[in-house]
């Protein structure tokens, strides 16, 4: 085999790309994984993971230089001097915001699997059937039963802690034992599950953190430093999980600094021959060839690659024959909910830093007999903790009393925040900008999306329902909040190359194949037909594993 020819090409190395590489290589395919950014080696390159608070140069504050360099990332709290090099360089990689769009990108091996929030929930048939029932967008070409075994398949490997509930619209995952709730969360859960019996469920947050050793990875050490990379491999990332599995097969080649600029399309065979790569360091162009291409470059960048490909055949790019490529962009809107203070727990505390919020409240609006004046719904994430010195005690002024007060744990506080579904609007779109170019002279994306009346109505409930539940649970001084939402800020970009039942109205079929070119598969967030309100990464994992299984069986049959 020539050194630029493989059985399979995977574009991107994040959650979806990592899964594609693992599954393809384990099925015996010689695979190259192309990543546009630098390599980040597991453990060795987690340079900040073991720093003490006093070793952090700016103690959590942002420098003027960081603010200047990251005009988008500074809009939320993720920007942090300790993992800065994992985020995309915003000056080298600009984009155009026709409307505000917060695009938080990680251009390194592992992508956002290094940085993600790790919540994992299955979609259910309320999600897969919603578009068809409500006449929104197009119908999903699959139902829960089609993806169910693949959820189980990826969960067994990933390791997700959580609690089984047998709740009708919230399918259980194959889970490790749940990490414990603290006393306030425990009482909150008991009180509300009694009060809302059968209507609402309060359960443990389900996250890809290991509550016990799993598949050769260590259990969580309760440091709560996941975003710096885990030296114990105790949360799921490409580095800790899928990459070592793919490497172990002997079938993987990983090539960092490889910007895939286009898919090489052969008009005679109507298939992709491979991809063109621009080396991000040398600016040299290379070609790689394979029988099958998996696009897992993240939602917007997978679509960007398609838009740049086969433009001599389709001016809008590969997969654009339906006129849906680039359209139906979604995210989850959030940053609103409620918070309150818990009294009567002053003699209780905890030991260790649990790496995520303690509770999850699955969607209860417009399901189980409920009906609102908007479509779809939202789920809550949240938790309780005792406040620390940052609470300040302004009225104590300065001196010994202030110091003593802040050296004690503060009052218990509890907050829950909602993540709401955004409908797939055709006019929420991305396109190639005519004028602006990136550092390598490549066209950049122009993003034009907004939330509409349905989402705005939902936000009122997202706050009011949160406050009601906190009050029912007996919390004091309950206040709602809406910290404002910028599209993309949920870092759950979805859509722009949706799956569907018909080539005239969708970009991908039920197996994530591009209708116009059946040996190209898109299995990251770009493929989503609707957004649900649950965190999407687990679904990308399952769809990726399912699509690889299909692709390999088709290859064996000689269909690809």
């Amino acid at each position: 085999m020539a050194d630029n020819t493989f059985d399979a090409i995977v574009v991107g190395s994040g959650i979806s790309g990592g899964w594609a590489a693992k599954e393809l290589t384990e099925k015996g395919l010689k695979t190259i994984m192309l990543e546009r950014g630098m390599d980040v080696r597991h453990i060795i390159d987690y340079k900040s993971a073991n720093l003490s608070p006093w070793q952090v140069p700016h103690r959590g504050m942002r420098t003027q230089k960081i603010l200047d360099d990251y005009p988008v990332l500074k809009r939320d709290s993720y920007l942090n001097e300790l993992n800065l090099e994992w985020w995309a360089n915003e000056k080298d990689c600009p984009y155009v915001e026709t409307k505000r769009f917060d695009w938080y990108r990680a251009y390194v091996v592992g992508g956002r699997s290094l940085l993600w929030g790790r919540h994992c929930y299955r979609h259910s048939d309320i999600d897969f059937e919603a578009n068809a029932k409500q006449g929104i967008g197009v119908d999903w070409p699959i139902r829960y039963k089609d993806i169910e075994p693949w959820y189980t398949h990826v969960e067994k490997f990933t390791g997700i802690q959580g609690k089984k509930e047998q709740w009708p619209v919230f399918p259980d995952s194959d889970m490790l034992p749940a990490m414990a709730m603290n006393c306030v969360e425990e009482d909150f859960t008991k009180t509300l599950n009694t009060k809302y019996k059968g209507k609402r469920l309060i359960t443990s947050g389900r996250t890809a953190n290991l509550s016990q050793a799993h598949n050769g990875r260590n259990a969580c050490q309760y440091r709560d430093k996941c975003v710096l990379g885990c030296p114990y491999g105790a949360y799921f990332s490409t580095q800790s999980a899928t990459l070592p599995a793919a490497v172990a097969t002997g079938n993987l080649t990983l090539r960092p600094f490889s910007i895939v600029t286009k898919i090489i399309y052969d008009e005679d065979s109507k298939k992709a021959k491979g991809v063109e790569v621009l080396d991000a360091k040398t600016n040299q162009t290379y070609e790689y060839f394979a029988k099958v291409v998996f696009l897992c470059a993240s939602t917007l960048n997978s679509t960007w690659v398609l838009m740049n490909s086969a433009t001599d055949v389709w001016p809008g790019g590969l997969g654009s024959s339906s006129n849906e490529l680039g359209h139906n962009l979604m995210d989850h809107h959030f940053r609103c909910g409620a918070k309150g203070e818990a009294e009567g727990y002053e003699d209780k505390y905890y030991y260790g830093r649990r790496p995520m919020g303690g509770i999850y409240i699955p969607r209860f609006r417009n399901v189980l007999g409920d009906k609102r004046d908007y479509l779809r719904g939202f789920g809550y994430q949240g938790g309780a903790s005792r406040q620390n010195w940052k609470r300040d005690v302004a009225e104590l002024g300065i001196g010994e009393d202030l110091k003593n007060a802040l050296s004690d744990p503060g009052p218990w506080g509890m907050g829950i925040g909602a993540f709401g579904e955004i409908l797939p609007y055709h006019e929420n779109k991305i396109l190639l900008d005519k004028d602006k170019k990136d550092k390598w002279g490549l066209p950049v994306l122009n993003i034009d999306a907004e939330i509409k009346e349905n989402e705005i109505k939902m936000r009122t409930d997202m706050m009011a329902d949160a406050a009601e539940m906190l009050e029912v649970a007996g919390l004091k001084n309950v206040k709602t909040f809406d910290s404002g939402y910028g599209f993309g800020q949920g870092i759950h970009e979805m859509g722009t190359a949706r799956m569907g039942r018909y080539p005239k109205t969708s970009v991908l079929n039920a197996n994530n194949q591009v209708w116009d070119c059946n040996n190209v598969f898109v299995t990251d967030g770009a493929c989503m037909t609707s957004g649900s309100c649950v965190n999407p990464s687990l679904t990308y994992m399952a769809l990726t594993a399912r699509a690889v299984d299909f692709a390999v069986s088709e290859l064996k049959k000689g269909h690809l």
């Binding site: 993720y78 425990e186 918070k339 649990r354 002024g397």
Partner: protein
Amino acid sequence: MDRRKAVQRVALILGGSVLAAEIFIQTGCKGGGGERKIAVAPEQDFFTKNEIAFLNEVGETIIPRTDTPGAKDARVGEVIEILVRDCYSKSDQKIFRDGMKMIDKLSRVKYRADFLKLQPAQRTELLTGLDKEQREYHEMKKAEDPVHFFRMMRELVLLAFFTSEPGASKALRYVAVPGRFDPCMPYQPGEKAWAI
């Protein structure tokens, strides 16, 4: 209660690490337009030795040594120099520097001596007055008005102290690798809070 009317915008969210709580430091590092360049190259001294000593004493007045170390033990002056130099905008740097001079000026007017020459009780009296002033100012302040210099100082001292080694491990409790999670353990008054 009508929830729609009760809706409030709050920046700081209690509990729940999943929610993106805004950093407590309200001053500086906001990047709201204006100058956003590093003002001074890192190899140069931003504050003089005397100014750092001054900041250590201001810090010690805000967070004194008790049965646990205080701000001077944590050398907050050196940390504050880095934070003001790298994180503050030029306009906030000016407010901060002018504030340092203002403290000495007030000290000379009131006690006929520089701040560094004052007795601890005099320092406390002076800074308590400034703290009262900044709180009153901030209750009335419009969003576009600048932050009061003493609010900056007080916040920087708290940050520099509680994230320092003596602050985090003596005034608070710090365990680098807890190794387990106990969700609900008894708490006795007097036991320190966890550092993070």
